[in-house]
Symmetry: C2
Subunit: 373 residues, 2 copies
Amino acid sequence: MPDEFTVTPWEVRGQVDYDRLVTQFGTERITPPLLDRIQKAAGELHPMLRRGVFYSHRDLNWILDEHSKGTPWALYTGRGPSSGIHIGHMLPWFFTKWLQDRFGATLYFQITDDEKFLFKDFEDLGQATKVGYENILDIIAMGFDPKRTRIFLDTEYIHHLYPIAVEVAKRITFSTTQAVFGFEKANNVGEIFYTSIQAVPCFLPTAEAGREVPVLIPCGIDQDPHFRIARDVAPRIGYPKPALIHNKLLPSLLGPGGKMSASVPESSIFTTDSLKDAKKKISNAFTGGRATVEEQRRLGADPTFCSVFAFYNFVFEPDDRHLAEVERTCRSGERLCGDCKLELWGKVEGFLRRHKEAREKAKDRVEDFLVRD
Amino acid sequence: MPDEFTVTPWEVRGQVDYDRLVTQFGTERITPPLLDRIQKAAGELHPMLRRGVFYSHRDLNWILDEHSKGTPWALYTGRGPSSGIHIGHMLPWFFTKWLQDRFGATLYFQITDDEKFLFKDFEDLGQATKVGYENILDIIAMGFDPKRTRIFLDTEYIHHLYPIAVEVAKRITFSTTQAVFGFEKANNVGEIFYTSIQAVPCFLPTAEAGREVPVLIPCGIDQDPHFRIARDVAPRIGYPKPALIHNKLLPSLLGPGGKMSASVPESSIFTTDSLKDAKKKISNAFTGGRATVEEQRRLGADPTFCSVFAFYNFVFEPDDRHLAEVERTCRSGERLCGDCKLELWGKVEGFLRRHKEAREKAKDRVEDFLVRD
């Protein structure tokens, strides 16, 4: 029996059973026939699809139907600016970039500085907004198409968001937020209202275009509860329900039992980590290795809960054949954890160098992406 | 013992005991020494002060202290655009105009279209905004100084309001809204959040000026609960507490037991009523008269719960001596209800004609008062 776990947009605790989440949240599994459809439409399958990192969805068939009819549709994802960006935050961004490249969709990228102020220990709102601007550099560094990407901070774009947010808010009771998020009477009224703001970009493309624009949201499965509410409300306020595609959360470098957390810097690689710090984190990462080299050579190791293998599998090894080889030689004892860490570091180092450079250049490009008016 | 009554920002029911409200809400009564201070500072006393229509306050002495030191302070009042404007809505506006004239204060006038959408049967937000624009014509027609008056609709000015609103919202729990407003779990999350928006203009003058600007809020006592919360939050987010001055609610033309209501058109005179309709409403008004003329001549009448007398007393008869004479001759039986109604109509007709004309002219002046950017 799986351990107990909790997944909400603000807390992930315990060893997550992703199969059980599909049942609990009422989403659908991405099946082989659906993968076929995506492959046909996109011309290829992203590794995160092939490997089940993106594993669950809502109404993805509808997006593919509309795409095949030539209907323009939009992408929506977001960032809660509580801290710097780590690899875990980027999972949906890598995938969203691929979707944008393959399908040519316009991307709405929401920076929820209001949320992070309301739910976090920030003393004033400006601190969250400031972190938001830092995070935007990482988003731009991903390589999104500036012509098709609109990044906005909630507090600066609120005049576009609020009129739709109150339409949403009118259809959500406190009871619903209790049932969906586990809120209590001691929650603050900003937290209670907030989901209405996160719902808005589901509807904004339609509101702006004056005709139905389907929206697909790539996001961590932990964000699904917001959009379950948004989907309930959508038909009651005259908008199409947003579709979703959900990823599993990248495990912590420190081992199983929870997603990466900015409050535990060792748990992931941050884009602002020095190369030295990043290398040290990988050296210290939890693996599926044995107590001694001798034992491991003899019995082999187990990649199942290995953080290093997860980093390969989720992000850093696009080549399925090489990944299979890594797994085989790990299990056989040919490969040691030190080998894996060294190879992973080579990949992470390359990524970090390129990302840091792109992030630096992004400082001059913020206005190409940010929408305010 | 007084009958049971309810006073919240959204509902006034039963025969209001205004003395008991002072205790219940924890406000202070306007005492003769305070009236003296106001008279000295203003050079006169507004009839609504002399007659106790404005009868309760919070920290009014502080405003007068600051005024005597030459500190600039601001006025803040508002309008929830649920319907057309009746005389009852205008009570605080007449008084606010007098305060602006006498003290030269800048007036922040909030139009809460979001609130009225969230709490009322409007099907979409645009309907509330539209009523808001109609109401703005009535506000401008009051004769406020365009150089010192900033009218704004919540949904159009939200980019200035929202950053402060979330600072407020973070310090209010659902429990507080239950205790103060009687909210339940079935309330929508927009209603629950809303008081954070109504709090903002308490703090906006200080935020804009970058230094402490005292704010005085003239409003119906029914609005006090919002500002009790705003005052609790103020020091925790670095703003001065707003001061308040509260009016009693103008009785219905149909008799005691509730304020005027737009859902009962006969209960008040609306600025958009035709002269014919307005006259008819006054003819049909509830009075303190006797069953027959003969009886009234013999026994006199009672102005205590007379709607016509209330209209004189609250608004339409600034001359204390004449008001006293009306009361005396009513009680003695010299004056009949028909006499009072005819005289009142003369005053109301004059007011309506002037207001309608000013309201028509206001259509070209909206941009002189409205702030959006």
